[in-house]
Each structure stands twice: as structure tokens, then as C-alpha cells.
Symmetry: C2
Subunit: 196 residues, 2 copies
DNA sequence: GTTTGATGTGAATGCATGTTCACATTACCC
DNA sequence: GGGTAATGTGAACATGCATTCACATCAAAC
């Protein structure tokens, strides 16, 4: 019938947000133009007024995720070890709030889709790792972290604290206690990186 | 035209193997009955002589992966710390040889498909974690590993050593040096778990 | 208020792919 | 060797989904 008209900037945001929610609920595979349109309250063809196609919707979604991840890292400015701890729990919280993130990171839609998308995802993760690496370097300058620690390696391991937990949480439908596990895992990781 | 007839047991194996290869190449999303048939040298409809449908093909693939993973763990009987180290590198090797494994573990076809599949995947990972946990416990009995280490937590962290590396390797099209990274990461992880 | 470009709609189109079915051929059993 | 069940084939069918298009409607510029 009738439907309020909105500026394309607003719609693009709405569409990307709807896509994110749908991905969280049904996975990237279950993401359809029809589903997005329903969520936003539009008709499928209307999506094409704001995006060139499904691929471009996904691109914007990736941008949003990138932003959230990087915001997360840059929010921490306290002493480096504490910064890492907080970052870890923020990351966990972020993933719990929008399950779509691991879904997308692990989605083969990213890997087997347009090569640019794969490159973009790689960029996102590498940027994130770089930021984490910088925190580690700061910790080394502050003499809080071991000098023989490779910041890049530490950053990847840091990611490794989160990823399996996210998967288990997902697979177990929330039964796996991520917070508790992360607490313990952090203790273990911590003593591997702090100065003796 | 004409095509040699083979027992369904043989075909099922061939089909599952072909599926695994295709997944490695094009991702779970790119797995099609037509693709499998081509690879095996059959016509698409012939697949249905041996499987009830695509889902059942995936089920068998999952079984194969489960087997490979568990074989991997149970192959190690040496002293526990060394066993963990070897297991780690075996795991890396396994993933490099059949990229399909991480593809499947991360695939949303598993998460948003039939719920049984999700449960099966969960079972596979949990069984694997349990086996790793047992090695850790053995290490604790041998006084090689810290007594205050939670074996379950250690097992998940162990998985965390492999997963991000696998993803990075994949995203970077093999440019990321998994072996080198794993060497270093193992050193870090090691000093977090061995007895002081 | 009229014009005009932007946004929304409904129907139609096209494509990829899983699945079924009637029929052909082969392997195996007696 | 003849019969029979298993295996293979080609074509047709079904479906879900992205995408397009002609037309309708609204909002903002003038």
C-alpha cells in the first residue's frame, strides 16, 4: 500500500542494520533480499533503490563491523595489560551482542564470493590485529610485557582466545559459559606474556 | 554414454571425497550435486542412487572429518608436553592438506541447516576437546603441567592456537606463514601451561 | 501549485540447483 | 546364459531467490 519515503542514506543504514540482525538469526546463507525488505518494511525491489545488489549490502555490513571492531580497540588507553584484559571482554561482549560478526568472519560467502570481499575481510582482521599488536608493543615499552614476545604473534593468539569460545558458544546455543571460560583463559594467557 | 557400475559403498566414498575436495576449492556454498557428479564422473541424478540428498552427503563428509581429527589425537602417546606440540603441528598439517575442515567448521550451512547437523558438529568438536583435555590431564599427573590448569580451558585455548592461524592462512591465500607462527605461538602457550 | 527527481510497488523474468522419474544398462546370482 | 536387482542416464520438474521494469506516489525545489 503506502509507505513513508525516506532519504537513501537513512534507508541504507536501516538495510545494513536489518541485514546484520538477519545474519545473526539465520546466518549469511539465510540472508535474502526479501528478508531484509520485510524487516525494513519495504518491498524487495525497493532495496535496489539504495543498493546495486545484495553484494553491496554485504559490503556496507562489513564496513559497519569493521568500525565496531576498531572502535573497540581504540577505546582502551589504560595501562597495557589492563587494556588487553578489557579489550578481551569487550570483544566477547561485542560478539554476544551481534552474533553476526563471527558468522560473517567464518562465512564462506566471504571466502568464495567476489575476491574483493575476501580482501576486505582480510584487511579488517589485519587492521584489528595491528591495533592489538600496538597495545602489546606499548606494554613492552612500559616493561609490563616480556620483551621477547612477538607483538604480531601475541595479537593472533589474542584473537585465538576469542574465536573458539565464540564458536562453542554458538554451537551450544549459549550453553557454553563464555565469560567464565574467558576469565580463566585470560589468566593463562596473561602469565605467558607478562614479564617474569 | 556408458559408465562403469560400482557398488554403492565405493560410490559413497568417492562422492564424499569429491565433496571434500570441492568444499576446499569453492567452499561449502559452492558445493553442488552437479559439481560432485562431475568430479566423480557421474550424472547428477546418479548421486541419488547412493544418498537420499545433499544433506546426507554432508553428513558423511562430517563423519570423515571427525575420524581424521580423532585419529590425529589418538596417534600421540609420547610424553604429554611433546604430545601436545606434535598434535598442534599435526593439526596444522591436517588443515593445510584439507582446507575443507575449517571451511566446514565455520560454515553457516552447518549452523543454519538441519539442527542435527549443528549438534553433530558440536559433538565432533567436543569429543576432540575432550581428547586434548585428557592429554593435559596426563601431563598434570606426570607433573609436567601446572596443577592449577583447567584441562577443559587449556583444550579450548589449544584450539585457539590453530583457528585464527587457519583463517589468516586462508584469507591471505597461503601468504601467512602458519608454521612459523605456530612455532612461536607454541612457545608462548607452552610457558603458560608447564610447571614453573 | 507545478514540476521533477527520488523513492516505493507489484508483477514478471531469469537463473541456479536440488530432486524426481521413466527408461537403459550393467553386474551378479542361480 | 537368463533373470533380477542395482546402478546409471537424460529430461523434466520444482523452488527459491536475485534482479528488472513499467508504473505509482511522494517530497522537495522553484
Amino acid at each position: 500500500m503506502k509507505n513513508e519515503k525516506m532519504k537513501t542514506e537513512v534507508r541504507r543504514e536501516q538495510i545494513a542494520t536489518a541485514a546484520l540482525q538477519l545474519i545473526a538469526r539465520r546466518g549469511v546463507r539465510g540472508l535474502s533480499i526479501a528478508g531484509i525488505a520485510r524487516q525494513v518494511g519495504l518491498v524487495p525491489s525497493a532495496i535496489y533503490r539504495h543498493f546495486d545488489g545484495k553484494d553491496h549490502v554485504l559490503d556496507l555490513v562489513l564496513d559497519q563491523i569493521r568500525q565496531r571492531l576498531l572502535d573497540n580497540v581504540q577505546a582502551e588507553t589504560s595501562d597495557s595489560v589492563e587494556a588487553l584484559r578489557r579489550l578481551l571482554f569487550r570483544h566477547i561482549k561485542l560478539i554476544r551482542e551481534s552474533e553476526a560478526i563471527p558468522m560473517l568472519v567464518f562465512s564462506d560467502q566471504v571466502y568464495s564470493g567476489r575476491p574483493e570481499r575476501k580482501a576486505r575481510m582480510q584487511r579488517i582482521i589485519q587492521d584489528y590485529l595491528e591495533q592489538v599488536g600496538k597495545v602489546v608493543q606499548r606494554g613492552q615499552k612500559e616493561k609490563a610485557l616480556r620483551a621477547d614476545l612477538d607483538p604480531a604473534v601475541a595479537a593472533v593468539m589474542f584473537l585465538g582466545l576469542v574465536q573458539p569460545a565464540a564458536i562453542l558458544w554458538h554451537l551450544s546455543e549459549g550453553a557454553f559459559d563464555v565469560t567464565k571460560h574467558t576469565e580463566k583463559a585470560w589468566q593463562v594467557f596473561r602469565r605467558a606474556i607478562v614479564r617474569p
